[in-house]
Symmetry: D4
Subunit: 246 residues, 8 copies
């Protein structure tokens, strides 16, 4: 009998009040390991396994989290993973895949069936690749095929035009750009699909850590563009995967 079934049983037999039952059911969803409340039913509830944001967590905490999830055979994707965290995880859990460029750690028990259509990931310049890689790892983790187009920024449009036919195969495009962040506007004018724009912190001077690219994308004159946080390759790919469900 699962924890959830126990609560329902107790309520039906009136040994639990309504309020206690609701509380009890909620608790069943959470694996509380002190510093972190891991969500055990997330895959069922929101259609995606737990994701861990590495920044600000100690190497110890990260290893605890991976160990707990591995014991319960829960898939997990961790982003913004530091070198110290990778080492701590490696010592305690087997089978974790690390990606140095994307700074991700993934643990997969049941490989998800591939989606029919690919997700396109474009970068304006070589320096944006780190963020694009995070998006690509994330999209693959959720069962998507990824088409990569690197260094196709607006200062040399012929590079973009050379890929247009391939690009049109995708269900949704993730466009990663720093500097003035103009690429998503141009792509949205050329393609008939949702564009998820990812501003990057690539730039200098009045770039303010990516703010200029973010503002550029939010003010895009082309319809069909929505924006995620600076350098948030994961968030873009997560949403792209929710769009690419058919």
């Amino acid at each position: 009998m699962t924890e959830v079934e126990k609560v329902l049983d107790a309520y039906a037999s009136s040994t639990l009040s309504l309020q206690d039952a609701v509380t009890g059911l909620h608790r069943a969803y959470i694996a509380d390991i002190g510093h972190t409340a891991l969500d055990m039913h997330r895959a069922k509830r929101v259609g995606a396994p737990e994701v861990i944001f590495g920044l600000g967590k100690s190497a110890e905490q990260m290893a605890d989290i991976f160990e707990t999830l591995a014991q319960r055979q829960q898939d997990v994707l961790a982003t913004h993973v530091s070198r110290a965290q990778i080492e701590a995880i490696s010592e305690r859990v087997d089978g974790v895949a690390f990606n140095d460029v994307a700074r991700t750690a993934t643990l997969s028990f049941c490989p998800r069936p591939r989606r029919e259509k690919p997700i396109a990931v474009l970068t304006a310049g070589t320096s944006d690749n780190r963020v694009a890689e995070e998006a690509a790892v994330t999209a693959a983790f959720y069962g998507n095929t990824v088409l990569r187009f690197s260094d196709v920024g607006v200062a040399g449009l012929h590079r973009l035009f050379a890929c247009l036919d391939e690009l049109k195969q995708a269900r949704v495009a993730i466009v990663v750009a720093g500097m003035e962040g103009a690429l998503p506007s141009v792509v949205a004018g050329l393609l008939k699909m949702p564009i998820i724009a990812v501003p990057t912190s690539v730039g200098y001077g009045a770039h303010f850590g990516g703010l200029s690219a973010l503002l550029g994308m939010i003010n895009s004159c082309a319809a069909g563009v929505s924006v995620v946080n600076i350098d948030n390759g994961f968030g873009a790919a997560y949403q792209a995967s929710l769009i690419n469900t058919d």
Copy 2:
């Protein structure tokens, strides 16, 4: 023979150089009415008819645009339409539908077939309804059914929970909120679908015309959220419609 066919013909018979042919083909796409270059093939190219942004255009210019498009039986949606623009359009073109809350004008010749799934439009508070209305008009213009949920902000979560079952019917949710812009994060934690967040300028003090809501949404701790410009109900619905294609 269409303009496009004429160009191709001339090129094949070597009366046009390659460069002139390319230029000629481009020109065929554009109805140039002096102040504005209207895109005649947009519906075919990006899957959506021309959209006109009313702000900063004179009443005369708007009437010119509607007249030109009406003559060619092209559908059009105009947003941020002022009272003066509505009057100028009304005098010269028949059959334009105006929405006072959303400040839109629409002209539809061939009603698009309805999509199977609805788009949900939620607002945090009553004051956000103006923006939500723009989103709803836009979504309907592109052939989507719209589910509206008004005044379900995070300060009283029971209002949101009361709509969860209905909400789950949607393919994608547009979440409109001002103030701290927290609603999209909460919704994204509860639903398994893409969330398009629309910050609004509703607020005061340190709200800075919607900047606080925008930053809140861009920094959302919940995956699955992407963001459009402040008060940009149109942009959110346009993208939602691109997502809702199946």
Copy 3:
């Protein structure tokens, strides 16, 4: 005869002018150790012992301060204490308690009687714990019992709901959150008590060192929320303790 009494005496016997007496009384309140003017009557005057802000002080200065206060048996709490400061203090003063997560140093001579009701300290995510720990150390220093709720952010509301009954025991809640800072709004909608919101610098991209969380909290749509500086766990707990007096 205390310094204060000496001044009053001199004034009564007309050996001090009114102005000199006032000046003399003020001086009696201060232990001037060159770089810092320590307030010897603060505990009596504002109901709380001296608090030292470690940032920008040299290790030498911090050790001077602790030594001076220890000699006069005055309680003290220091925050933002660096490793170098801890070492300098340890060498010269016994009985100082250090907390590595909270980065605090405390010296207590007369343990304060416990308050009847607890103060709740919630964090949205594991990465916010450092700030919450500073709040907890501070609250305990002033004689409060602390209830901790970790990792109960808005992206998974069931984690918060599971703690609601316990939360209701508190007299006041300190809610610590980074990212979009939405948790205080949700908590204020659920609980009938003052909420002190602490934005944290946990985030990246357009988070601007906590500014986004701060703006989110300041613009909260829920009544009952007030805000302290980014990462200011101490300030939140100090005020919570002033509220929790009965």
Copy 4:
């Protein structure tokens, strides 16, 4: 039989599933009048009646809200009320009290018992009085006695010192200031009680609509200060009232 009891009954007799019961219970809490979802159990749940934020609502909507609440004999306080809204309300509902300086409208059926201790409301300058008045109306609405101290800013400290004895009677102080927002720091250094700081938009030049005062207060060097939004007299008084419960 109330709506709530009906749902519970149906669930007990198994004519409602658990999920439907939860949904049904939530609906019972809300009076949905189309544009706004009024919270009928708020007074019971969070210890305070419904509060309406006037900005961005039409005069019609405000009158609808007051009429609905008046019919159910629910107390209500509306802030940021415009002249047009006042007129619309007046035509349809009797017994509403308007305050022109504070721009509030209040409707009270059961006068709350007075609290034992007063709430102090201080302003730095005459120009801050509008915000202080909103705080005072709010505090009174929730059953508090209010002590007002006007024009006691830091440029002439003797004005503040003249009121110190009276000030010490209060349980909590609301300090309203524009310009550099220094008054709360000074007050917090003198009084042993929680200080709620309200920055105002009074200022010019580099004041940026109150941002400078807000930043000043958030960075206060004195412990015991928390801050609400610019010009948010209501929010300060609401929290002060939650503090002043004994």
Copy 5:
């Protein structure tokens, strides 16, 4: 004998000290009409006649300035001219040309010889035309031919490509754009000439009065772009004219 010659004479004959001579020479350059110091030798010194910035000047002051310059047969261009200023000027000075879209007033005595090559002025959207018009009036005032390309923004690149051959005739291009300000980057990638980018205040939401377009242009990933102030069509054309000297 001119004022300048008189000074030199006096100095040579030792009736003026060196310092007085320098001062005297400077004074000869300036027609001081109380509120404004008009520069009488500017055309000779910096190769361009006096330009007057209308904002913040009274109608009286503007008329004084035009009258003084007209009496001395000095050409003048005034920008940001208000309706009231136009009326005041018209009453006192003949032959002034006003442009309502550009909000300029010009007075020309000696028509400058036309330059060999044209200056191109492009706008991203119809709403940017007001600023482009100011640039065009300015360029013409300084003797340049102007090529106008309206509404060729990046959301529909085919419109820009259709004009490329014509564009290549220009010596320098002024690119006027609001929203995300991406057009200059694209143009700079296609053309071999200096690009002067003019951000406009056309936009809404997170556009912040043109700041987003300005930041986009300053961060352009394409070399060859420099930027002037938001809406500063005059400044762009003035510099373009300095470039187009041969």
Copy 6:
């Protein structure tokens, strides 16, 4: 017997405690007219009569203030005075001098003796004159002679050089400039006296209401410059007058 003497007397005869005496003395300094606490001993204490900031005060309040001060024959200078306030004051108090450009109202009973040295007030452009006028009125009110230099901005340095000899007569220079705010740096490099820089809101585009000029002045590469708030002609002149005491 004055109020102050009464208090001292009572204290000497032990009918007042020390604390009550201090409070009593403070009260004697203040004329409390309800909304405003007027400072009756300010002229004696800080060497300058009361100054009233008009913004945000009602016409009624301003008239009350002038009436009270006139009755006690206290000099007063009011700044940021609106037309409505001028009318209300005029109806109730005689002898008030109004300056429309500076938007000031002054009431002087005992003309102060002139200082030996003048204060220089420079403006970069004609549009900055409004702020310079406020500075000039203020300086004159406090007994200073004022030298005015208008329209001597850095784009035409010869205008400034023409005034250098006169400028050197001053004890202190107030330099008023909008746009990039460069004039104070240039002046400080040429003169051996304190420079008080006043940024103005004159500008457009990326000027942000004077912020750019303010930042320019704060970052001045020339030593000897300090800065007051945007458009704060009064503040600059007040400080200049404190400097010009000998």
Copy 7:
């Protein structure tokens, strides 16, 4: 037969469709080395060889780029080159020139003919020299003679005046300044040529990494000034070179 000729041939013989021919032509322009798409016809198309922005690229990637271009005898200029990148390049490619102050790497096969007129590069202070050096290296790379004027800022104008005659020889002036960024305004008032202003990050306090200098220059009161990004010496010189073509 070149790649381009092959495509044209195939199209003429109908073995390539129009679309495939266009795509094929575009591909011929690009040397795709995985992470970066190098533009092989750039020198022909926009009149300048490839430029590489070093920031964010790995040492490996930079060496790949230089190797590929060296093999094809293409000139290249790299900016923002790190020490690690220099070492990686040096190991694999001969004949690369490095400049430590400017942080540039250049590879030149066909020295460009010198232009007739020089480009002037001025700095306000010694600390701005690093950026000026980048401008000078860039200008020389494109075949321009460079005149350098160092440390001629506005706080000591006589230093600038001493160089005026030499300065007048230039066709265009690049003015590099940090702090308040006032130098370009002063220079533009004295010279009859285009001024390209480069704000630098030299400053502290409220300089915000060069933002203050940037705002100062964008708001310049002198006509003839346009601005590039903070510290962007390359961009300024690139545009200056486009201006200096005759």
Copy 8:
């Protein structure tokens, strides 16, 4: 014969044109050592010897500067001096005084006569002492006596009141404060002298490197306050010294 006399001579004998004479005179003022243009007549012209800003200069450059000035027996004060610069200077020049807290280097040949009145330097907290020390070193370098008051911030006003009598001896007060920057307002309300406010970068969270303190001081409600850049102790003292001339 000095350089200046030679030029005058040549001009009088007509071997130099007017323009060449002016240029020649200017050159005589400057010792050009390649990277830096040292001002040899500054002490005479603006009443103060050369000041060197160390940030961004190499150790070599600083040593060059000191050597050149030492050879000509010119006094010099350098600020923001790094450890490496100190070492380079020490190796090549004798008699330079270094201050580690203030980070200054001074070289004095002719000690200036002491001024009659002292300059007061106050800090709000111990952490502000570094900036205050720079101010004190600077003031002493220019011949002023300095009164120091440390740690007298607004959170404990009695500490300030204890020094009031001493403070009143000063001719001008420099008030150094971080956090909310409230101390200058309070001091200006108590003292009859010019107040120069120095915001410091001491703070955290929403302090933004001193911006909050700067804004607080610029918006001071007390007249008589002007402000210099964040952490600019030198600038404050330089101006104070210009004020303290009699």
